[in-house]
């Protein structure tokens, strides 16, 4: 590796890694929320309260992920 001679030498590529990541993370966030809610409900016998709460949190986490990625893209 050569010396750090400025950032323009290694041109940053289009950030397609983030695009690969975003779609999967949206689904996983909802699955994690709903899954966690289902587990809590089966443990505490409170169905469907925690499932609904988990779903809301999962969807919220998916929206937060979009916001987080968009914020980072704007910062760049």
């Amino acid at each position: 590796m050569g010396p750090d001679q400025g950032d323009d030498k290694g041109a940053p590529p289009p950030n397609w890694g983030v695009a690969f990541d975003l779609g999967l993370r949206l689904g996983i966030s909802v699955i994690l929320g709903v899954g966690g809610g289902l587990l809590l409900d089966s443990w505490l016998h409170t169905s469907p309260i925690f499932t609904l709460v988990g779903m809301v949190l999962g969807i919220g986490a998916a929206m937060y992920t979009i916001w987080d990625v968009a914020k980072e893209s704007m910062r760049r």
Binding site: F20, D21, R25, Y64, D68
Partner: protein
Amino acid sequence: MVHVEIKAEELFAIGPLIVTNSMVGALLASIILLLAARWFTRRSGIVPSRGQSIIELPIEFLAGVVRGTGGKRWRQFAPLILAIFLYVLVANWLSLLPGVGTIGLAENIDRTHVVIVPFVRAAAADLNFTLGLALISFVSFIAFGLRANGWRGYLKELLIAEPPYMTPLLTPIHLISELSRVISLSMRLFGNVFAGEVLLATMLSLTTATVFILPLAFVIPGVFIGLELLFGLVQALVFALLSMTYITLAIAEHRQHGSEEHPSGESPEQATAPAHGAA
């Protein structure tokens, strides 16, 4: 009959440690990388030969990407990103060598079916391997976040929302979002490599019967092996670049944090300068 199990098959056990064929694949990839590193460090020169230039080309490319997008601290995590890239790449391409996934022990699953349990299988076709790598990446970006932010700053950023009265709602959301990174990293690599294994096994099974009639048995799997070469490279690159993005984000959060509070006593212009320089 060549078949692909979703879980890695057990070869033998050393005490409580069960050795699977995916573990053999991962071990072989490590040995190849270690031997290559030893060989190249002994033979490399300041003025590179043609062979050295060819070997250095992908490393230079990825180092350029890390340098371009990783900000001023890129040197701290460039070795980790390069190691992840090379490890996943070698593990993926190793599975395309003749004999890997096809030579093994014949096992009767019932009286009519005999399946081959291969001695070596693609390491990333086992979720344990990809989850382990994702956890290394996860721990690394937490460590870089802690190093940049400090314990108090990191936990404050993770657990306390802005404005603070939103904390009960936003903290679980933040935690789910953080956890989704590990699962996303591991499942993507596992899914792609496992799907590739199934595809190759299916194509081999479909075309083997035509080997004496048409050259399809050679051409069609050859095309898919070519595609798998490309997918192996892309998946290694995606895994490495995403790990780098997460680390950069963990450090960048500190920069934003630092620009608001100036804990080091810098002026606002000094504190925000690295953030602009990283763009």
